[in-house]
Amino acid sequence: MKWIATCKETSLLASRAMDGRLPFADRLAMRMHLAICKNCARFNQQLQEMRRLFRVETGAVEAVAPGLTPEARQRIETEMQKKLGS
């Protein structure tokens, strides 16, 4: 990795940084790029934003999604009864 990464390389580093600590040289290359590139800085922010939106714990709109259909519920109930009865 060069001292300053390209946008493409930085997008990979920024993604990896969401999953664990980067090696020093990579971290430095990413930081230097982010300091001078508005586009990648925004990309990096949006990665954090996506995480916030997706995490179940913070998903404020969870109850909006449809639940089990009556048919599926009935099927599962039947299977549970079978299991309990056995």
């Binding site: 946008c7 493409k8 664990g20 990665l47 999604a65 639940g67 109930e77």
Partner: protein
């Protein structure tokens, strides 16, 4: 056993478990399977439930394993992260010199109830549009919050493949969200 009312599980937690599974498996059918397998496993394991956690937390723990099982069963026939398709798709987002073709645009900040439910729909649609293995790795990481090492180990893929998959998934998710109303400009 007082603390374990098996009949209440489905009524009280069925929808919750289903939504969680649905968001990670991207299929109604698989999500229903996951809920059923979870509840059946819970019946078998109820002796081991010591009442340390709430029933929902306990069931959610079982569900996570069931989801991974289902993904593992499906992951075999899925494309490898190395495949030219995905690589070309990533290449098309960047110019030859490594700059963005379409730089990320600023996103709005939805607050109203209606905007949030619209946002949820876009999130789910975009996740559903990812290639299966990508969607699943993305969901295990970003929805379930599993550690990357854990995901690699569970799915039997190398960390490098995992990073490549997650990078692609995030690029495509981001682009999809932006094209579907997340950007202020795009909403106009």
């Amino acid at each position: 056993m007082d603390t374990l009312d098996t009949h209440a599980w489905l009524a009280d937690h069925g929808d919750y478990l289903f939504r969680m599974a649905r968001r990670q498996l991207h299929s109604d059918e698989l999500a229903e399977d996951a809920v059923q397998e979870t509840l059946l496993a819970a019946i078998s394991a109820q002796a081991r439930y010591a009442g340390h956690a709430s029933p929902r937390t306990w069931l959610t723990g079982i569900l996570k394993h069931k989801i991974i099982d289902l993904i593992r069963r499906n992951v075999r026939e899925v494309e490898l992260p190395r495949d030219a398709d995905g690589e070309e798709a990533v290449d098309s987002l960047f110019k030859q010199d490594g700059h963005w073709v379409d730089p990320p645009r600023p996103w709005g900040n939805p607050h109203a109830e209606a905007e949030l439910s619209q946002l949820r729909r876009v999130l789910d649609d975009c996740a559903d549009r990812l290639k299966p293995v990508m969607a699943q790795v993305f969901s295990l990481r970003e929805v379930a919050g599993m550690e990357t090492e854990e995901i690699c180990k569970e799915l039997g893929i190398t960390p490098t493949n995992c990073w490549v998959l997650l990078h692609r998934a995030r690029l495509f998710m981001r682009q999809c969200l932006e094209l579907n109303g997340f950007s202020k400009a795009g909403a106009a």
